[in-house]
């Protein structure tokens, strides 16, 4: 115990070296913590958002875009598809559930999704205040959206055109908030959910409404962000009902569907299917490259910290040769002198672990709050991962490795030199 205290005093006898080593070590451990927390949360969030969705069906375009817009609500949709597609797929024997989504408007960056109540069920959305919608232009707010926008049941709002901030407001059609949802930890928290009919109603007078069965109006050409600029012509070829939705979230009745259904959908003239599992794996691979870079950066920092601690201790042992020899003279066995050197490195490791973990969580939290204002992924510093055990393990291992050679030098110290200092 006293030896630990002595090691602590020796550590801070050279404060600049100690601080340098501590900074390097903490930075390395903090980035390690961050990578662990962020990648695990992103992966969990993605898995949750995929809940029960086997296939996304939308207008022709990039499958990745379909997934990003339809499942994660990060990208703009590829276009619209005829409402008849819903029935077509619902009647398909291999399909268990079809949830239609109508996208295109937003409220201060939170997307307004026209859908059915099944969409809430998909994510286990529970009403916290009020009720779900009954008639068009009633809306329910996800937990984050409600908290951020400070809207409660009874309040009204007008959606704005487009998915970003600053689109034209649909002033003539005000939504009424009828309920808010409990937190689900999924993308649902960041959405404004209403009935499909609401979206149709809002757009009926906007000039882009599918209900009018009109080709896209001229004033609509600049609304490039708008999800309702679909392939009208293709979509209308053999449909009586001119109404449209943006995309469909399909759950299979049997795994067999994975073989035939995507092909069947893609054979339809206006339709495109995308398998979330596949596209997400592709996405994670791309994001994974970034994670790898961060991880590599952390490892480089840790290696630099290890080297720095090693050099610091190596010099310390040389500088303190007389001190250490005097300790031997005072009755310390070699192993106690070596332990003193190792203890100094372990103090650094302990401080580095504390600072690194705290900083890693803090950075994750800061990034999380930034992403929240961007209405993007939800990250929190309050997340605790079992993988964080890697952080102290790495720190202790690093400390032991760096201290090994200096400790051996201390162990083998020639004490008789103390007597020959003439």
């Amino acid at each position: 115990m006293r030896l630990a205290l002595l090691a602590w005093r020796y550590l801070w006898a050279r404060p600049l070296v100690a601080v340098l080593n501590l900074v390097l070590l903490s930075l390395g451990l903090a980035s390690m913590t961050f990578v662990i927390l962020a990648s695990e949360q992103v992966e969990h969030a993605v898995q949750r958002d995929l809940a029960g969705i086997d296939l996304v069906v939308g207008a022709k375009g990039s499958p990745m875009q379909l997934i990003l817009s339809g499942v994660f609500h990060l990208d703009s949709p590829t276009g619209n598809i005829p409402l008849g597609t819903v029935k077509l797929l619902r009647d398909h024997p291999l399909v268990a559930r079809v949830v239609p989504l109508s996208l295109g408007d937003s409220l201060h960056g939170f997307r307004i999704v026209g859908t059915t109540r099944e969409y809430l069920d998909l994510y286990g959305g529970q009403i916290e205040l009020g009720r779900t919608w009954k008639i068009p232009l009633e809306a329910v707010l996800g937990a984050d959206a409600a908290a951020e926008l400070k809207l409660r049941p009874g309040d009204t709002f007008a959606g704005s055109h487009g998915l970003g901030m600053g689109g034209d407001e649909h002033d003539h059609y005000r939504y009424t908030v009828v309920g808010t949802l409990a937190r689900t930890g999924t993308v649902l928290d960041r959405l404004v959910v209403t009935s499909t009919e609401s979206v149709w109603a809002v757009h009926a007078h906007h000039g882009s409404a599918p209900a009018e069965a009109a080709p896209p109006a001229d004033d609509h050409q600049d609304d490039h962000d708008h999800g309702h600029d679909g392939d009208h012509d293709a979509a209308h070829e053999d449909e009586d009902d001119p109404r449209e939705v943006t995309l469909l979230l399909v759950s299979y009745r049997s795994p067999l569907a994975a073989v035939s259904l995507p092909r069947w959908v893609n054979a339809q003239p206006a339709l495109q299917s995308a398998a979330p599992a596949f596209e997400t794996a592709r996405l994670m691979k791309m994001v994974g490259a970034g994670t790898e870079v961060l991880r590599g950066f952390g490892i480089v920092l840790l290696a630099a910290a290890g080297l720095s601690v090693f050099i610091g201790l190596y010099h310390a042992v040389r500088e303190r040769q007389a001190d250490l020899a005097m300790m031997r003279m005072l009755g310390a066995p070699p192993r106690r002198v070596a332990t003193l050197v190792v203890a100094e490195a372990l103090w650094l490791a302990l401080l580095g672990i504390i600072i690194g973990l705290v900083a890693g969580h803090a950075v994750t939290h800061l990034l999380g709050s930034y992403l929240q204002t961007e209405r993007s992924l939800s990250l929190t510093g309050a997340w605790v991962s079992p993988w964080e055990a890697v952080v102290p393990a790495a720190a202790v291992l690093l400390a032991l490795l760096s201290a090994a050679l200096p400790a051996v030098r201390a162990f083998r110290l020639d004490v008789t030199k103390l007597l020959q200092a003439h």
Binding site: A13, L330, A332, V415, T416
Partner: protein
């Protein structure tokens, strides 16, 4: 108390130094005289168990130092010997008080703070507890080094050139403290020096002259 018997130390296969036989009773003191390189340091190292004799024995209070196992020798050294090195070797990283905790920490023992306070007061350095060694005068530093040697009540005090680089007054002071400490505790003093002043000052001490300088 201290006995050399047929004591030899071999530096290299060719070079060996032989020390005269000697028997010291309790309360006797020993002066080891000789120029640099005459084997003074070697003798001190043999007494402290830092070197093993190539043949013969060093006995301290009947204990054959060379026959102790390595770990036992360290513990024995800490408990039996007080050592005042020529350059004092106070740790510059630690305060005076923390330097004086070292004998206990090194022995793996509980730090006896009352004992430290007593010894500090006795040597008149009680007010220096929180100074760093570089903030001390030469005389003060000597007293701290002596205090460190006395803390665990050694039976044998080894002093290596205790007056080197000291003027007459400081040397008298240092030697006076050393002799006083030895007489108060009944410890045996072994002083290695080539300083004539010391010879005059320890009358009646056994004198061991090491003349023949072994080839390096």
């Amino acid at each position: 108390m201290l006995e050399f018997q047929n004591l030899r130390h071999r530096y290299t296969p060719q070079v060996e130094v032989r020390f005269p036989d000697l028997r010291l009773a309790h309360g006797d003191h020993l002066l080891v005289l000789g120029a640099s390189g005459s084997g003074k340091s070697t003798l001190l190292a043999l007494i402290a168990g830092l070197l093993s004799p190539s043949s013969g024995h060093v006995r301290v209070e009947g204990t054959d130092v060379g026959s102790l196992r390595a770990s036992a020798r360290d513990a024995w050294r800490g408990a039996t010997l007080g050592f005042v090195p020529q350059r004092l070797h106070l740790s510059p990283s630690l305060s005076v008080l923390h330097n004086l905790e070292l004998p206990f920490v090194c022995a793996g023992e509980h730090v006896d703070s009352p004992r430290i306070a007593t010894v500090m007061d006795h040597l008149g350095i009680g007010a220096l507890a929180h100074r760093r060694p570089h903030e001390l005068s030469v005389g003060q530093a000597h007293r701290v080094a002596l205090a460190r040697a006395l803390l665990r009540e050694p039976r044998l005090i080894l002093a290596d050139e205790p007056t080197a680089s000291l003027d007459d007054e400081a040397a008298t002071d240092a030697l006076g403290l050393l002799r006083q400490a030895a007489s108060e505790t009944g410890a045996t003093l072994v002083v290695a020096t080539h300083d004539r002043r010391v010879t005059d000052w320890l009358p009646g001490a056994h004198v061991l002259r090491l003349a023949a300088a072994p080839a390096p």
